[in-house]
């Protein structure tokens, strides 16, 4: 259970208000009730006293004339006062004249005590009053008043106070509930802001101000405090950061110094004041040909031997000079370092004392570098200069303003201007009419660092002749890498241009004849198709009638006649085969045909073997095949492909029975098929020609149209593949071709499916 201390402020406020108000009301109530009972006693005393006096006064006559009835009447008037318990009128001698009692009870009317007295007891008030007539006491009146009224009043007032308290409490509760918001809301806002700040450490949070009272001041003060903290926090952070940066910087400076020394391109050696080596970087060690461990502590002169390039006399080491003179020394050129292994290296070197500011020299540092490359570069530039001088090409340098700064003899010859004439003059002197715009454009390009290669254009010589030139222009940079000009190499290509024009003409002619050739090729194909188709008719007639002739009159012919007729039949048969193949070949080239469908090559092979059944049987050929895939293709294309290849393998067999193996493999995303045989093979020089239509390597001894392989090539090429042969004459050939992988290949049919159609080799 939460103690009051831990209650939220709004509850606290309500509680405080309720308790305060309740206490105040209760105290006032108690005070009023208490005061009332006190005041009421006083009032009651006065009242009863007055009443007693009146009654006493009224009783004078009755007492004077000894009239109890009248006295009783006087007393009976007290009935109106319900709290009068009893009343007694005594004569002067203490005897009772008249008496009165509430509700008929008999009053005790004890002998009167002290007259003129008001006496309170616990339950009642007794008032005793002398009855005086003409200054003389003639009797006594005693009244007894019931104090129950005080209790009643107290109860009534107490009840009223409680009721008021209760009603007030309810009203106060509602009012305070409303009013507490004006205090509690800003405070809880402030509290949540505080919580947010302490949780997030975001000192940018500000509490919201609701009023201009003390809470407002508190919010302002809180916000000001936050602003202060925020400022201090930021300041502290930046101080921390900058300190960290400084540390990092110092660290990196140290690192970079060390790294610099270690990895600097120059060789660095430091010595102590005695000239003993304390440090040598890698470059130095490499130049001196010393291992790292060897040099430290050695006297510099033992390691660093230098001589004059020309005189070859030893040169004093700069360290000695530095130690002597205490200042930076730079050695003259032509110094050669003799390394440990005797290698001579031209170097530049310098030395400097090591000392703290104003302090004594603590040692020296020697910096030197291999200048072999520079020597070489010097030589190269001399060479280049001579090349420029002797070059047949024009080599020109110009500034970005187009003013010529260099003009070689080649340029003099090419353009006819001497270098004297051109240097300091604008390059536009050699611009050809119609080409004036080029030069500023070229300079723009150069300015932006670009270069121009083999730009063919026209320039004009001093004599006014126009020449074709090829220009190669590159920017010239100063030491700071800024473009300051352009170097231009111009080559006279007038002759080349003429040759090129000639070539272009030849090319165009060639394209023309090529087109013609393609056209005539198409015509030829169309002709071949029609011819092969239409020629079949008469050929069929010749065949059939020759056969009819043999059948009908064969017996009537002599031997020679039969040979003639056989030749006719054979010739027509051959021609028919030729025409059929030609037709197949031209059809392959001509029509796009029907859409491809899934073709199972195993089935194709089955059909091919069926077609070749007779020759397989005759030659005792063995055809083997691995499982073949299914392709998206036309069966009408694939059957002749395989049939021609297998047929050829049988046809061009050696002395042994043909053994033919059909296989397939994946290669470069294609399927590569191979039809291998053990036949006579093909000489390498014919491995291309065999695919040309009607090209045959063999005479009539082996029948054939010369179109089979051409058909194969067409089929394969139609599917985007290629076909070639690998062969060893006398040992057999392998025809290879590629076809695109099957789109929906569902794997391979069982091998046995078609092997059963041929002789099993195993």
């Amino acid at each position: 259970m939460p103690t009051f201390r831990d209650l939220p402020i709004k509850q606290k406020l309500v509680t405080i208000i309720m308790v305060t108000t309740g206490t105040a009301l209760l105290l006032s109530g108690i005070s009023i009730v208490g005061l009332d009972s006190i005041l009421f006693r006083g009032y009651l005393a006065r009242d009863i006293s007055t009443l007693a006096r009146v009654v006493a006064d009224n009783s004078t006559a009755a007492l004077s004339f000894e009239d109890p009835a009248s006295a009783s009447e006087s007393l009976a008037a007290l009935r109106a006062r319900t709290h009068i318990v009893s009343a007694c009128i005594y004569r002067a001698d203490g005897t009772v004249l008249a008496r009165y009692a509430r509700a008929g009870s008999v009053p005790p009317c004890a002998p009167p005590g002290i007259p003129n007295e008001i006496r309170f007891t616990r339950q009642d008030l007794t008032a005793t009053r002398p009855i005086v007539l003409n200054g003389r006491r003639i009797g006594t009146l005693a009244l007894v008043y019931d104090l129950g009224e005080i209790g009643e009043r107290r109860n009534l007032y107490g009840g009223m106070v409680l009721a008021i308290l209760f009603a007030s409490a309810i009203i106060v509760f509602f009012i305070s509930s409303r009013l507490r918001a004006t205090i509690a809301t800003p405070i809880s806002q402030l509290a949540s802001a505080t919580v947010a700040v302490s949780r997030t450490r975001d000192y940018g949070i500000r509490a919201r101000k609701f009023s201009n009272d003390e809470l407002g001041l508190l919010v302002d003060a809180f916000n000001e405090m936050l602003a202060g903290i925020q400022f201090r926090d930021a300041e502290m952070r930046s101080v921390l950061l900058s300190r960290e940066d400084a540390l990092k910087e110092a660290q990196s400076a140290r690192d970079s110094l060390e790294t610099t020394l270690a990895s600097i391109g120059d060789a660095v050696i430091s010595t102590d004041i005695e000239g003993r080596i304390t440090f040598a970087n890698r470059v130095a060690l490499a130049l001196l040909r010393w291992p790292e461990t060897g040099v430290k502590g050695k006297n510099l002169d033992d390691v660093f031997n230098i001589i004059n390039e020309h005189s070859r006399a030893p040169v004093e080491s700069p360290v000695a000079k530095v130690l002597r003179e205490g200042d930076i020394v730079t050695m003259a050129n032509h110094t050669i370092l003799i390394a440990r292994d005797g290698t001579e290296i031209p170097i530049d070197d310098s030395g400097a004392p090591i000392r703290r500011e104003g302090g004594p020299t603590q040692g020296t540092v020697l910096v030197f570098r291999d200048v072999t490359a520079r020597r070489r570069a010097d030589e190269t530039s001399r060479l280049l200069a001579s090349i420029v001088q002797s070059s047949g090409d024009a080599i020109i340098a110009k500034g970005l303003d187009g003013i010529v700064t260099s003009w070689n003899p080649g340029a003099e010859i090419m353009f006819g201007y001497t270098s004297k004439e051109m240097i300091g003059r604008p390059i536009s002197l050699i611009a050809a009419p119609g080409h004036e715009e080029e030069m500023p454009r070229i300079l723009d390009r150069i300015r932006s660092g670009g270069r121009i290669d083999n730009f063919e254009t026209i320039r004009r010589t001093k004599a006014g002749r126009l020449i074709n030139v090829a220009l190669t222009i590159s920017p010239l940079y100063d030491a700071l890498g800024r473009v300051v000009g352009a170097s231009k190499i111009a080559r006279d290509i007038t002759g080349q241009v003429q040759t090129a024009a000639h070539l272009a003409q030849l090319n165009a002619d060639l394209r023309q004849s090529n087109d013609d050739l393609a056209r005539s090729n198409e015509d030829l194909e169309r002709f071949a198709f029609v011819a092969s188709h239409d020629l079949q008719e008469p050929l069929r007639m010749i065949t059939v009638y020759s056969q009819l002739l043999v059948k009908t009159y064969g017996s009537g012919l002599d031997d020679q006649g039969e040979v003639f007729l056989d030749n006719i039949v054979g010739g027509t048969q051959r021609m028919r085969d030729l025409l059929a193949d030609l037709l197949a070949y031209t059809e392959l080239g001509a029509r796009p045909g029907q859409p491809a469908e899934a073709v199972d090559l195993n089935t194709v092979l089955q059909k091919v073997l069926e077609n070749l059944k007779v020759s397989i049987a005759d030659s005792h050929a063995v055809v083997m095949a691995s499982a073949l895939p299914t392709l998206e293709a036309h069966e009408a294309h694939l059957i002749p492909l395989f049939q021609n290849l297998i047929g050829n393998a049988i046809k061009y067999r050696g002395t042994a029975p043909p053994r033919i193996h059909v296989s397939v493999a994946e290669a470069d995303g294609h399927l590569r098929f191979a039809v291998a045989d053990n036949g006579i093979g093909i000489e390498p020089e014919y491995s291309e020609k065999i695919f040309v239509p009607f090209k045959r390597l063999h005479g009539k001894g082996i029948p054939g149209t010369g179109i089979g392989l051409a058909i194969c090539e067409r089929v394969v090429e139609r599917y985007g593949g290629r076909i070639w042969v690998e062969s060893e004459p006398g040992h057999g050939s392998t025809f290879l071709f590629t076809l695109p992988r099957a789109v929906n290949s569902q794997g391979c049919a069982p091998e046995s499916a078609h092997i059963s159609a041929v002789k099993e080799e195993a």
């Binding site: 004078t60 006559a61 009755a62 004077s64 004339f65 000894e66 009248s70 003409n134 003639i138």
Partner: protein, 167 residues
């Protein structure tokens, strides 16, 4: 005050004739306490208030004993025995029962004097207060109109105690 102590035994028992007059004397004195006389009668504060007994004196020494030393508002009370006509210096005129021609007497009495007697006829004749015996007790009747005519004001307390009041 001795009167009540004297009266008490009387009230308890049958009053003796002498005792009866002692009570009447006390009553007579006590009447003066409840009467306001008109101003001329009080012109002289030093002068006494006189209770005059007209004619026969039934009280003997009782009245004198009772009145002796009594004062009323600082004025001395005295008892005087007078003859007809009743002098105007009297404030109270007690007319004996035996007196004849009471009505004439009353008519001759000057205003401002309280007239007291006994018997029923007194009030009819124009008297103001008449003693009566009731159950052996001394009581009195009052004729208020007569008193008012004479300018004598009778305190209401006295009226309350009277047996009957004629208005």
């Amino acid at each position: 005050m001795v009167l009540p102590s004297l009266l008490l035994p009387g009230l308890a028992a049958e009053p003796q004739p002498a005792l009866e007059y002692q009570v009447r004397a006390a009553f007579l004195l006590n009447f003066t306490r409840f009467i306001e006389w008109p101003p001329p009668a009080e012109a002289d504060p030093a002068s006494s208030i006189a209770i005059c007994i007209v004619g026969d004196d039934p009280f003997g020494a009782a009245l004198d004993q009772i009145v002796a030393g009594e004062t009323l508002q600082g004025r001395k009370l005295t008892v005087r025995r007078v003859r007809r006509p009743v002098p105007s210096s009297c404030q109270v005129a007690y007319i004996s029962r035996v007196e004849k021609g009471v009505d004439n007497l009353l008519a001759s009495i000057p205003p401002g004097i309280l007239t007291v007697s006994e018997g029923d006829g007194f009030l009819r004749d124009g008297g103001m207060i008449a003693f009566v015996l009731e159950n052996h007790r001394v009581r009195f009747d009052i004729n208020q109109s007569s008193a008012m005519k004479a300018g004598v004001r009778i305190n209401s307390k006295l009226l309350n105690v009277a047996r009957s009041v004629e208005k």
